[in-house]
Amino acid sequence: MIHAARRRYPPAGAVDVVVVGAGHAGLAMSRCLAERSIDHVVLERGEIANSWRRERWDSLRLLTPNWQSRLPGYAYRGADPDGYMSVSDVVGFIDGYARFIGAPVRSHTTVTSVVADGCGYRVATDRGAWRCRAVVLASGAHGVPAVPAAAAALPRSVTTLTPKTYRNPGQLDDGGVLVVGASATGLQLADEIQRSGRRVILAVGEHIRLPRIYRGLDIQWWLDAVGILDERYDAVDDIVRARRVPSPQLVGTPERATLDLNALTARGVELVGRLVGVADGKAQFSGSLRSHCAMADLKLGRLLDRLDQWAEERGRDRDLPPPERFAATRLEAAPRLGLDLARERISTVIFATGFRPDFGWLNVPVFDHKGRLRHDGGIVAPGLYVLGLNFMRRRKSSFIHGAEDDVRDLSAHLAAGLRLRDGGQAPRSAA
């Protein structure tokens, strides 16, 4: 009976569409393909929601409230709409979705190469090869940690971790910890490690500061309502830059607390500039900390102005608490520029410096001179699509709730492309 699920789908063969990755995005695409009766299979290297099961730290919760967790035809229905899902909640949510849509998932099937083959693609896996007319890359934006080159020069006495290998403070020795990166991840790890009684130094570059709650409402409610999350990739000034922006400084806690640099320094975390090098056992930090914090404070101010203006124009002002402004980021007069790791007993460095997707198996010439996947709002090449990348089609593209609009657009484009090759009309743009 173990093989019952496998027998439903051939071990390999020909199919219209191969979706690589059974996370929320790949499953959402599966649902939209099924709605269009397009024959497809979802290949998953591990289990459904694999990286959520194996590559997340223990205390992680989503940055979005539960009410916002939705996928095509599916939404959160629990008792705590304002709460934030834990990792196991997310696994349960995505697992439940896969069952709900009856997705044709082939788990424990690792894609080893994708090559162009006639007017389609050939997808090789460790369990046989598939021929298909279209491929959807849904393996996620978090393939490999983007660790700066300086990491290679760290002394051997220092343990380096990334958000994929960090689990909880219990795995660390008692030495000090340098956390590199001031995204949501960097701040969350700095916070919990500092609370565990260890000394924490946080290296801060460009960052996005957000309050958890603004005028009584979750900031994600505001970003959603005002339309900021729906902003399109082809309507922003500099999409390359917009895609590089780190995740905003947020945490999902039962207290719905704001986690910003001021909260961390109040608890004893020391702030330093961006890590720019390591030489002779000394970490070197940029002197640009003040500039980066001033920029984040300014951007926060501009955002809140925009939210307040929206509330006023919509006549929402009377129902809401008054506008708030937050204290500027507090900094020491002269933050340190160097850190002798041995002398200061720093035994762990955690690189919360982002990720890049891993397309090492994609043997199709679709990369730019820096090895980044080229795509136009998720359209990579004829019959080749990608999902879930940062600001891919919309600002919300990398969020769970951001998948729906993207997969609706791209599945329509994909379906039109299949019809074209069947002798139908040319696909329109996916706008």
Partner: protein, 186 residues
Amino acid sequence: MNITAIKADNGVNVEALLNARQALTEAPEAARFTWRAQCAWVNGTHSRSVVHGFFGLGTEQAHKTEFRYDADHPEIFAAEDNGATPVEYVLVALASCLTAGVAAVAQNRNIQLRSVKATLEAGMDLQGILGIDSEVRNGFDGIKVVFEIDADATEQEIAALVAQSQRRSAVYDILTNPTYVAVEVR
């Protein structure tokens, strides 16, 4: 006839800059520039540097004229004070780089500037260069830049101009981040 919005004019050709950005995005090898200076000792701590040629856009380039800079030290250093000190040139470089950035960013954001003044101050403990205390560094212990800007813009917009000019400034980057320096003798 079209009704045109009032355009700020800070004397910066933003269109040319944006076109260059586009062109260099497509041809990254042309974006590789080499800047040069030559310096000759005159007497005492007095030296004279010249800049003229540089490399960029795939070929040798040159300034319209050769620019010369005398550097020396003040009389309290038992020198003849034939020019600014080298560290003051660093302040000049930072000030002019940030100021050029303010003008360019203002133009790009259609903000008319009326005046931009920057005052710079840098602290230095001479115990460093005199070798009195090895814990004291030779260079500045910090630089303070104060901008006074009169422009058709809100306080916030002006603060954003200054923030953006730091983000795009070469000299700001050179000063805030380590740079590998190779000094050889021929």
